[in-house]
């Protein structure tokens, strides 16, 4: 009985982690000079070409690009950096939204 209770507790602790991994991951990229649509669309276009990207939103006011992945997909910082470079920009920061 004690073992069953311990197993149940471990499951309860793991569930949120499993749920978090199953949910879509979102990343924030800081990029300078996005006020022009040629630039903003270029970034959107390059990042959208990555497998597993569901949505790219550009916040020109704050120079931020928010990348939402499909369920289970992840975005590596290096790949994001390369795509931002392809678009003619420099990635200033990269972070995963908790």
């Amino acid at each position: 009985m004690k073992t069953i209770r311990q197993l149940m507790m471990a499951l309860a602790l793991l569930l949120p982690l499993v749920a978090a991994n199953a949910a879509s991951m979102t990343y924030t990229l800081q990029v300078d000079g996005l006020a022009c649509p040629f630039c903003a669309y270029g970034i959107e276009k390059k990042l959208s070409s990555i497998k597993g990207v569901a949505k790219v939103d550009v916040d020109i006011k704050h120079g931020l690009v928010v990348v939402t992945m499909t369920e289970g997909a992840e975005l590596s910082e290096q790949l994001a950096r390369d795509k931002v470079k392809d678009a003619g920009f420099t990635l200033r920061s990269f972070s995963r939204i908790p």
Partner: protein, 324 residues
Amino acid sequence: MTRNKVLKIIGAGAASLLALLFIAWLAWVPFAEGPGYVFVTAWGERGSAPGQFNDPTGIAVHDGEVFVSDARNARIQVFDLGGRFKRAFGTKGDDPGQLGRPMNLAIANNELYVADYWNNRIVVFGLDGTFRRAIGREGKGPGEFNAPGGVGVASNGDLYVADFYNQRVQHLKPDGGFVSQWGQTGKIGIWAGEFNYPTDVAVAHDGSVYVADGYNDRVQVFGWDGKFLRKWGGPFGMNIHGPFNGWFATVTSIAVGPDGNVFAADFYNDRVQKFRPDGTFLTAFGTPAAGPAHTAIAVDVADDGTVYVVNYDANRVEKWRPRE
């Protein structure tokens, strides 16, 4: 060396520097040589209903109608010269006749040419919105595009396409057959005949081809055959940006008026600049940005000289007329 002598040397140096700056100012900051423009009216606001825009990015005026690229709504909207909505066409997608992000526009031989930045092609419509054909596909080979920003059409139907990420202008036959390219594919350059994210092309009545060389902050002019003719924009016309007369901070659209004068949208300076065909600065006008974006993204000129400007920041179209 005495303190007085040092001060004298510093003073002479400062005076020389000021004199040099004054001479440079006279050389590279021209005075307006033409009359200005007066704001007439504007229409549009952010949204997706008829008459509303979500990132307007291109404009063409023809025979009493104003065609506007409504980029994020993936459509073209058509208005009369007073801004009354007439019709819209295009839907979001990449099938034939659909649009991704329509940018600069051109009208020739009763057809509308749309540079589709997202789908890497030029989409051609009848003026009523009927899909006619698409030219090009994604790539960096002859006749292929990587985010075309604008297109100019010659009197014989030949196309000149600003191939933004390929850093070149392509000269194509009316059916998309490759003729030649100017600039080296994928290589940014600041010298004559090289490009730094070209955004638009306009063909003048004499066949000269004017290129908005976006991030080189200049206009480059070529013969129909690609022979480099001249360039202007800041000192030496080579990627030196600034807010002064005749300088640019990213040229995003170019148009030739009925008298041959050249109008360039100077995006980060929130203005349109007008030049003679030889590059002589005439005047500048525009609307300051409320932010966070900028205003003058695209420009075209009606046969009577009225200028229509797309204000990207405010999601509207502005109409300006020459000052009497």
